[in-house]
């Protein structure tokens, strides 16, 4: 019964999305209020029915209804409740449903907030409805999560143990909130091209901010999960799948900056529209190229060819349609605003130049092996060294320029005065670089440079915050986000340059050393979890002959899959991680152990959090200060703040 209910809800949702498309576009084009209100109601209805379908599937996972194929293939009665729920999006069908759910949430928000006036909203709803319809068709025809299985099996196959983790339970919804969040900017941009562009950048800004924050958090969560779950202490591998999430983030960051100029001074009008289209296009390309398995040569698993074909057509139509619309309408938009070379506009433009080039790097690096293989069968790999040599310098140059942006005024700035005001930050940068060069071992010029730039970013943010004392909270958004970049840079540098490791076999009672730590191995006990059994090692950190903190890394065997998973133990001081992964049993109670000491590792994710917090401040200011279109001239400080 539940399966049929979900199926029916999806069909209703499809019908509503079609109504929303027609009514929204018609209402905007012909300026009919009745049609527009139909579009608004359909958006709410769409959300209700997709949510119903999603809840139905969730219920089926919770009660382990194995008569539904999706549940039988991906769930198991022994799983803890939280992983039964996260299992809903831990598979293709369910995650597509989550994708549409997020899309419909954004549609309902667009309809509810009515930002940018009724016509723009209505056209945006029309476009959003078209996207929803396309994905609902995809689900119903190729990826239906409600297909029945007869006879129902007694037990389900279970969720991959690596995914049974709180970090990864959260990661997909967060990343989807970002990926799909860019659909709102996309819809607003398309709507602006259809009915006139005035005010779209302002209208879409909260959606851009939410999407960007969610992407930032989603990427950070994924990187953190890879760090503690995979057992080799890495946080970023320049893997096609990771790159797929980085590209929309880079473009969304560019869009946030460019749209700000569009909104505040009318500059870069067409460019912001193009970025909004590109951002969501990259979300689409990224998610689905990766999902189709095209980018990973060895683990190329055969997916259903109809699925791949359907999704390719869908992507081509969405991106091609939007670009055609852009090519048709953009030339009619009026030209750029006036500003001097030394101005906020120039810095935002440079921000975009470097971000687009960084994104091009990731794009080329991700797709090149595939394209080259398809053209003449030449097989190459594009690994981290490539990105270090290309993405590295481009992004580094961007970071050096960042502190100037928030200090220069719109239209006409005083570069000399700004440069002088940044002297303290320059001093901090010099000190950071010299200190690293003097005391850190091994000595590394790269690390010194990176620390100097981090000091420059953080110092400039502190100056910025001091300057804006007393302003409203959102004035500090840029300072926080930019400081977050500096913090992440510190973490990345520390971990990459100064990580020490030990790979060894220890017997109970023996000690091992890694970096500055000495560890005593107290042997292994067998423990039983809800759906796994584990060897739990006990390691005691020795501090001057005395026993300190205890670490309990596990080596788990998940029963449903017969799969081994290492559960690492991490002891952190906040500035340094000691990381232990328990290997397997050697005879006589001896165990293989991997240990890493990663200086500054926690800063990688702290920086991400600080960046997202910057976004949150900006959003909060936006929503509180809603909509006075002709607000009185703000005081200079507040204005410079934005």
């Amino acid at each position: 019964m539940t399966g049929e209910l979900g199926q029916l809800a999806l069909c209703f949702a499809l019908a509503l999305s079609l109504v929303m498309t027609v009514a929204g576009l018609f209402g905007a084009k012909e300026d009919r209020a009745a049609a527009r209100s139909v579009a608004v109601s359909s958006a709410f209805g769409l959300f209700v029915f997709v949510a119903l379908a999603f809840l139905t599937l969730t219920y089926a996972f919770i009660v382990s209804d194995f008569s539904i194929l999706d549940v039988a293939s991906n769930s198991n009665t022994l799983k803890p409740l939280v992983y039964k729920i996260s299992g809903v999006w831990g598979n293709h069908e369910g995650s597509m449903l989550l994708w549409v759910l997020v899309l419909s949430i954004y549609a309902a928000l667009v309809a509810g907030l009515q930002r940018g006036g009724p016509r723009l909203t209505s056209a945006a709803l029309g476009v959003q409805g078209l996207l929803a319809a396309a994905f609902l068709l995809f689900i119903l025809f190729t990826s239906n999560p409600f297909l029945r299985l007869d006879p129902a099996p007694f037990e389900g196959a279970g969720l991959n143990p690596l995914l049974q983790d709180p970090g990864l339970a959260m990661h997909p919804p967060m990343l989807y909130a970002g990926y799909v969040g860019l659909s709102a900017s996309f819809s607003y941009a398309a709507a602006a091209l259809l009915v006139g562009e005035a005010g779209w950048a302002r209208a879409a800004r909260p959606f851009m901010l939410v999407a960007w924050m969610a992407l930032t958090c989603g990427i950070a969560l994924g990187s953190w999960w890879a760090y503690y779950e995979l057992g080799w202490g890495g946080f970023w591998g320049w893997d096609p799948v990771e790159n797929a999430s980085l590209m929309p983030w880079l473009i969304a960051t560019a869009l946030l900056h460019s749209a700000l100029a569009t909104e505040k001074s009318g500059a870069f009008r067409t460019w912001s529209l193009l970025l909004a289209i590109a951002g969501f296009s990259l979300s689409l390309i990224g998610t689905f190229l990766v999902r189709s398995g095209l980018t990973s040569s060895v683990h190329a698993f055969a997916t259903d060819p109809t699925r791949g074909f359907f999704i390719m057509v869908l992507i081509a139509l969405a991106i091609g349609g939007a670009l055609a619309l852009f090519a048709w309408r953009a030339p009619t938009l009026q030209g750029g605003a006036a500003f001097e070379p030394a101005s906020r506009e120039t810095t935002l433009l440079l921000n975009n130049v470097f971000l687009v080039a960084s994104c091009a790097c990731v794009f080329v690096g991700t797709l090149y092996p595939m394209v080259l293989d398809a053209i003449n069968g030449t097989k190459i790999s594009v690994g981290p060294p490539y990105y270090v040599l290309t993405f590295g310098p481009i992004f580094f140059a961007l970071l050096v320029l960042v502190p100037f942006g928030p200090q220069l005024n719109w239209r006409r700035g005083d570069l000399k005065a700004v440069w002088r005001s940044l002297y303290p930050a320059l001093g901090l940068a010099a000190v950071a670089g010299v200190v690293v060069l003097a005391i850190a071992s091994p000595r590394s010029l790269t690390a010194a440079g990176a620390f100097a730039v981090a000091g420059w970013l953080i110092g400039a943010s502190i100056l910025d915050i001091r300057k804006r004392r007393g302003a409203r909270a959102s004035a500090f958004a840029a300072a926080l986000a930019h400081a977050g970049l500096g913090i992440t840079l510190l973490g990345v540098t520390g971990t990459t340059v100064w990580r020490s490791e030990a790979l060894t076999v220890v017997a109970p009672g023996q000690t091992m050393t890694v970096g500055p730590y000495t560890l005593r191995f107290d042997g292994v006990t067998r423990v039983k979890g809800p759906n796994y059994i584990a060897d739990r090692g006990k390691f005691v950190i020795m501090e001057g002959g005395k026993a300190g903190a205890t670490m309990l890394p596990e080596h788990r065997l998940y029963l449903a899959q017969g799969q081994d998973v290492t559960d690492t133990a991490i002891h952190t001081t906040g500035l340094r991680d000691l990381y232990l992964a328990l290997g397997d049993d050697r005879d006589g109670g001896r165990f293989a152990v991997r240990a890493y000491v990663s200086p500054l590792a926690p800063l990688i994710w702290l920086g991400g959090l600080v960046m997202a917090l910057g976004g949150a401040l900006s959003l909060w200011g936006r929503l509180r200060l809603s909509e006075p279109e002709n607000k009185p001239a703000a005081p200079a400080v507040a204005q410079a703040a934005e």
Binding site: L162, L168, E242, V298, A360, R594
Partner: protein
């Protein structure tokens, strides 16, 4: 269902954003004993040679994993290649000779850093080309914006 289970799991992981996880899962299923062998590599007592070995290992890709280097992978392939790298360093071969040895055997795909040759010019120069074009457009835009004001 169970038969396809493992492939599905890998597919799932890749789809969810982490093919490193997929390779980890692959090695986990292939048998963790491999990882144990990786956990006790023979190490050179000479720090210079050890540093060279580690550097070379990081430059070589594990061909049966997704995106991992020989240095960090726990697969049997990585274990074998690590042994070969160390044998050749011990024999006194140069870094270049060691890399060429593996390229002859496995093709350029084993190099983490793609070779610079006509087929990869676009790969290496493309991003900087985009940077130059974007920079040029920005230059023109700034010029125009300045004139508009005058």
């Amino acid at each position: 269902m169970r038969r396809g289970g493992f492939k599905t799991v890998i597919a799932l992981l890749v789809m969810m954003g982490f093919s490193n996880a997929a390779s980890a899962a692959a090695t986990a299923v292939a048998g963790f004993s491999n990882a144990a062998a990786a956990a006790v590599p023979e190490t050179f007592s000479d720090p210079g040679m050890e540093a060279r070995a580690r550097h070379l290992q990081r430059q070589l890709r594990c061909l049966i994993c997704a995106g991992e280097s020989i240095d960090e992978s726990a697969s049997s392939f990585a274990v074998d290649v690590r042994r070969l790298v160390r044998e050749q360093i011990a024999e006194g071969r140069t870094d270049k000779q060691v890399q060429d040895f593996f390229v002859d055997r496995y093709g350029a795909a084993i190099l983490m850093k793609p070779p610079v040759e006509p087929a990869t010019w676009l790969l290496w120069l493309g991003p900087f080309g985009v940077l130059a074009i974007a920079g040029g457009v920005a230059w023109v835009t700034i010029k125009k914006a300045g004139k508009a004001e005058a």
